[in-house]
């Protein structure tokens, strides 16, 4: 593909989704867009770009954006983000929340459902420790295709072997031929919704935990900042945001601050908000302003030590 066509695609995809495809994502173009070209009666990506240039076509643009921005996903990806929930976040809420026994979780890049269902299984496994609690897990994504798959809760033999412990497969899945379907009770814990991270977050509600993983990497700095700051506003004062392994807030915004004990876990930084003093100021404030029960802080080693 010539650089002109590549730039055309990059610009259109950025306009539509905010996602910036860097040159190193160029290798995805052939494998992802040839099927789109074929579905539209064409053979090559060059022809596809030509068609897009000739007449603006929202449906086609949508298809191209989806194809280029879909991620690989698997159950319990990276493991620690789910250990955080089980070993740190939920135990803390159990101590501090009193009669407020609601837990709202948002997966901001739900993809084909593995992340929200992994969270649902963690909570289901903790059921006995959480009497009277109700949970809501919202899974959103920019791609309707992946959401449709997520909603079915159906996975191939290959997919259920990526990250899913065998005891959880036995416990929460039913086999039909070569496919595995998730337990309707787990399925029912997750609500899926089409959502573009460039739009206002206000209609989504408030959350105790936000999984915002492996999606910021696709955005430019300004968009990252905007997403992180708007996400922080949706967060309960004692809530958490979990980012992907290659992502951080450092140097982008001080609306959130990392927990030193739990890599990838961030809390609201109300003390430093707007002061521009992220970095030095927050590191001294972190201990002083923490309202978290110290007993919980002490037990935090297990999850962090196991990365």
């Amino acid at each position: 593909m010539n650089t002109d066509d590549f730039k055309f695609l990059v610009d259109r995809i950025k306009d539509r989704s905010g996602i910036v495809l860097s040159a190193d994502k160029g290798y995805l173009i052939e494998s992802r867009l040839v099927p789109v070209a074929q579905r539209n009666g064409l053979t090559t990506v060059e022809e596809l770009v030509k068609k897009m240039r000739a007449t603006p076509n929202a449906a086609l643009m949508e298809e191209v954006t989806e194809a280029m921005t879909t991620n690989e996903s698997f159950f319990f990806r990276d493991k620690t983000p789910f250990d955080f929930l089980k070993d740190y976040i939920v135990p803390q809420f159990l101590q501090s929340r009193g009669s407020n026994k609601r837990l709202n979780i948002w997966c901001a890049a739900a993809s084909t459902g593995q992340e929200p269902y992994s969270i649902a299984m963690v909570l289901k496994e903790m059921n006995a420790k959480m009497p009277g609690w109700s949970y809501k897990i919202l899974g959103t994504d920019l791609s309707n295709d992946v959401l449709e798959k997520a909603k079915t809760g159906t996975y191939s033999q290959f997919e259920v072997q990526r990250g899913l412990p065998i005891n959880l497969l036995v416990k929460y899945f039913k086999q039909t031929g070569e496919t595995w379907m998730i337990d309707p009770a787990i399925r029912a814990m997750v609500e899926y919704k089409y959502f573009n991270l460039l739009e206002s977050f206000a209609p989504l509600g408030k959350f105790d935990v936000i999984y915002l993983r492996n999606v910021l990497i696709y955005f430019d700095r300004e968009t990252k900042k905007s997403i992180l700051e708007r996400a922080a506003q949706l967060l309960a004062p004692d809530g958490y945001i979990i980012l992907g392994a290659a992502e951080t807030v450092i140097g982008i915004t001080d609306a959130l601050r990392p927990l030193k004990t739990h890599r990838g876990l961030y809390e609201r930084n109300s003390a430093a908000a707007g002061t521009g003093l992220a970095g030095k100021a927050t590191s001294t404030l972190a201990g002083a302003t923490s309202s978290r029960p110290s007993s919980v802080l002490k037990t935090s080693g297990t999850a962090a030590g196991r990365r």
């Binding site: 698997f74 493991k79 033999q157 072997q161 990526r162 990250g163 412990p165 086999q175």
Partner: protein, 121 residues
């Protein structure tokens, strides 16, 4: 270096598994059936066993049951790796003391995931 015994009657599968596991820093031994594997373990318990189900002379499930009867037979982490891919077989394996279960065909990612699942990687 952790030791892993690869038990499969297919030389091809043993070779593929060996390649992947050596890259994950395991020292590999091989056995072509359950009986051979049991004799190996009676001499020296490995840290991990990658175990096929259907093999001549002694099957994987019979080997596993016999292994867990041995005095140090609870030590090795056992990961089944078989074309048997139904709930009945999986449950039977877990009840017999398998730690993880891989349904063939497998690849490097699955093997690595499953081994890390049981703390081997």
């Amino acid at each position: 270096m952790k030791k892993c015994l690869v038990v499969d009657d297919s030389r091809v599968i043993r070779k593929v598994a060996r390649q992947i596991l050596e890259e994950l820093d395991f020292e590999i031994s091989e056995a072509g059936d359950g009986q051979e594997a049991l004799e190996y373990c009676q001499a020296e318990m490995p840290d991990a066993i990658l175990l096929d189900w259907n093999m001549p002379i002694m099957s994987g499930i019979d080997f596993l049951k016999a292994l867990r009867e041995e005095s140090n037979g609870h030590e090795p982490v056992v990961v089944f790796c078989t074309t048997e891919n139904d709930m009945k077989h999986i449950t039977e394996a877990i009840n017999a003391g398998a730690n993880e279960y891989i349904m063939k065909p497998f690849d490097r990612d699955i093997l690595e995931d499953k081994f890390s699942e049981v703390g081997l990687v």
